[in-house]
């Protein structure tokens, strides 16, 4: 997505928001300009602090998910027997809405940052483990034979074949679950914390009835999601250009073979 196109869309959305708010005139929907003004005012102060706390939790959750799901996915993808045993377990656990586990995790892990990070990691874990496993299984047998014939052992196959082959899957999983992660973050931050955008939005909206501040929090949360999305997109573009081969990006027209 080109940044300019995104900017144009953002301006258009803000214009519609502004128009609807002015026409409606209810305090429940303050005009966009008022909210943006508030956002700019608040950001260097309290709002920035809350956003930083939230961002830390999301990134921590993602990191935890990558560190656990990638090895698990690679294991399942390379060892059919492990996949036969744990595949059905994954299949059963995948559809459980993880957000319902927030209270349980808090009882188990305390009220600090840990349960919030773990719940985000849990959501990402299942998507990532399935995608990584599928990618690892899809590595061509002939490719493995060729690399083995050059003298690669199991570790080197992992390092030079399986890991790079699964990198696009990791990025896809993160990209797909950014929205869910932030939604769950909101829920998780309603409980037992005084820091984070979820807390900020809830406090401003339901206790202080300061709607411009609440919307400023919503804008901050959206921008956080957008920023994460862009980061993942950039990394994907940078490291996984090969995976988009055949999608009409850089394929040479000189290919004479089928």
């Amino acid at each position: 997505m080109k940044p300019r196109a995104v900017m144009v869309a953002a301006v258009a959305l803000l214009a519609v928001w502004e128009l609807v708010a002015r026409l409606w005139g209810d305090p429940l929907l303050p005009p966009a300009l008022v909210v943006l003004h508030r956002f700019v005012l608040e950001l260097p102060r309290e709002l920035g602090l809350h956003a930083a706390a939230s961002l830390g939790r999301v990134v921590g959750g993602m990191a935890l998910a990558v560190l656990t799901a990638v090895p698990a996915g690679l294991l399942l993808g390379q060892h059919p027997r492990a996949n036969r045993i744990f595949g059905p377990v994954l299949y059963l656990l995948y559809p459980i809405p993880k957000v319902v586990l927030v209270p349980v995790l808090m009882l188990l892990l305390g009220v600090g940052n840990l349960p919030k990070i773990v719940i985000i990691a849990l959501i990402l874990f299942f998507q990532m483990v399935v995608l990584v496993r599928d990618n690892a299984m899809a590595v061509r047998r002939e490719l493995l034979l060729s690399v083995r014939s050059l003298g690669a052992g199991p570790y080197q196959l992992l390092r030079f074949v399986y890991l790079p082959a699964c990198l696009p899957a990791v990025f896809s999983a993160i990209r797909q679950s950014i929205g869910t992660s932030i939604a769950v973050l909101y829920v998780a931050e309603l409980f037992a914390t005084r820091l984070g955008l979820g807390y900020y939005i809830y406090l401003a909206g339901s206790t202080l009835f300061d709607y411009p501040a609440m919307y400023a929090g919503v804008v901050a949360m959206s921008l956080m999601g957008l920023g994460l999305f862009w980061c993942v997109d950039w990394a994907d573009h940078h490291w996984c250009a090969w995976s988009r081969a055949g999608l009409g990006e850089t394929v040479a027209a000189t290919d004479e073979s089928a």
């Binding site: 490719l143 060729s146 014939s149 050059l150 003298g151 250009a241 090969w242 081969a245 290919d255």
Partner: protein, 320 residues
């Protein structure tokens, strides 16, 4: 194993080098180093020298069997339970018969599933036989030996790595890669005319270029044996012919034994000094065709080669 003594001289400046290099260190010109065989190399075929192990003496389309070590030997190998599969193994064993392959051997057979590719994987050490042992250089193969290069039909380059990274993969996998690895790789790429695409990804280049890269990747490790499975069947005719000749030239030059699996009769005749015809279980007469006219350079215009072609086609003909 004793290293064969071979000397390379630059045709431009007379520089003397102990191994082939793409670029002459003396005068800097490309592809000017020519090998001069010393008597020690020529006579080493009986004392187990490396040249003998490679079994190729250019201009001498010798017999398949021999007494020297460095042999590919399939002693009592069984890889699968299927009968037709066993036929292929038995024939290969009979042909190789405890000796070694010299020059180029082509396995040709009409039917898929007859075991041509499995044979290659056995020889590469990538597949363990159910019983028996595959010997290479007089020693049983325990796994990929690092002395065997493998080139498959669909190139099998790492899609995320540039061509240069791909051809250097074998060196990177070694614990002590040589410092000159990159220059060597570039010299090889230059030799095969793909130096200018060294930094492109495999999907950005043509099939012919990809197969050239795969060949470089196999030859980079200085193998004694190169195994190719339908290496050129995905290529168009001009590319196929160019690469067939290039492969033969390079294997002759570096005394690499070449075993090619193909279903293409013309390719078998052009490339195989020996042609092993693998047929299905109902064919009672699998055979080896000697083909001294291969690699002559005249291609199929050579009438003797064309005659071999016709004979081979008759052998492979499916009853109507």
């Amino acid at each position: 194993m004793a290293k064969a003594k071979s000397v390379f001289h630059c045709t431009e400046c007379g520089y003397e080098a102990s191994g082939w290099m793409g670029k002459c260190p003396g005068c800097g010109s490309w592809n000017t180093l020519v090998e001069e065989r010393t008597p020690a190399t020529a006579s080493s075929s009986l004392n187990g020298g490396k040249a003998a192990a490679r079994g190729w003496l250019p201009g001498e389309a010798g017999p398949l069997k021999g007494e020297a070590s460095g042999a590919v030997d399939l002693a009592d190998v069984e890889a699968g339970s299927e009968q037709r599969f066993a036929t292929g193994i038995r024939e290969m064993d009979r042909v190789l018969g405890g000796g070694f392959v010299r020059g180029s051997l082509v396995l040709v057979g009409g039917d898929p599933g007859i075991g041509k590719s499995t044979l290659l994987l056995l020889l590469a050490g990538l597949l363990k036989p159910q019983s028996g042992t595959v010997c290479f250089g007089g020693q049983p193969l325990q796994g990929p030996s690092g002395r065997t290069g493998l080139v498959l039909q669909d190139y099998e380059l790492l899609p995320w790595a540039t061509i240069l990274q791909n051809v250097m993969l074998g060196l990177r996998l070694r614990t002590h890669p040589p410092a000159t690895g990159k220059e060597d790789a570039l010299a090889w790429l230059d030799r095969l005319g793909i130096r200018d695409i060294a930094h492109r990804l495999p999907h950005e280049i043509s099939g012919g270029q990809r197969q050239r890269a795969a060949i470089v990747r196999a030859l980079m490790l200085e193998p004694e044996l190169v195994l190719m499975d339908e290496p050129f069947s995905a290529l168009d005719a001009p590319n196929r012919e160019a690469l067939q000749q290039l492969t033969l030239d390079m294997c002759a030059e570096r005394r690499i034994t070449l075993i090619v699996v193909t279903h293409n009769v013309e390719e078998a005749c052009l490339m195989g000094q020996q042609i092993l015809v693998l047929s299905d279980a109902t064919n009672r007469h699998p055979a080896v065709l000697p083909n001294t006219h291969a690699t002559g350079g005249a291609g199929l215009a050579d009438p003797a080669l064309a005659a071999t072609c016709v004979r081979l086609k008759e052998r492979l003909r499916v009853p109507a």
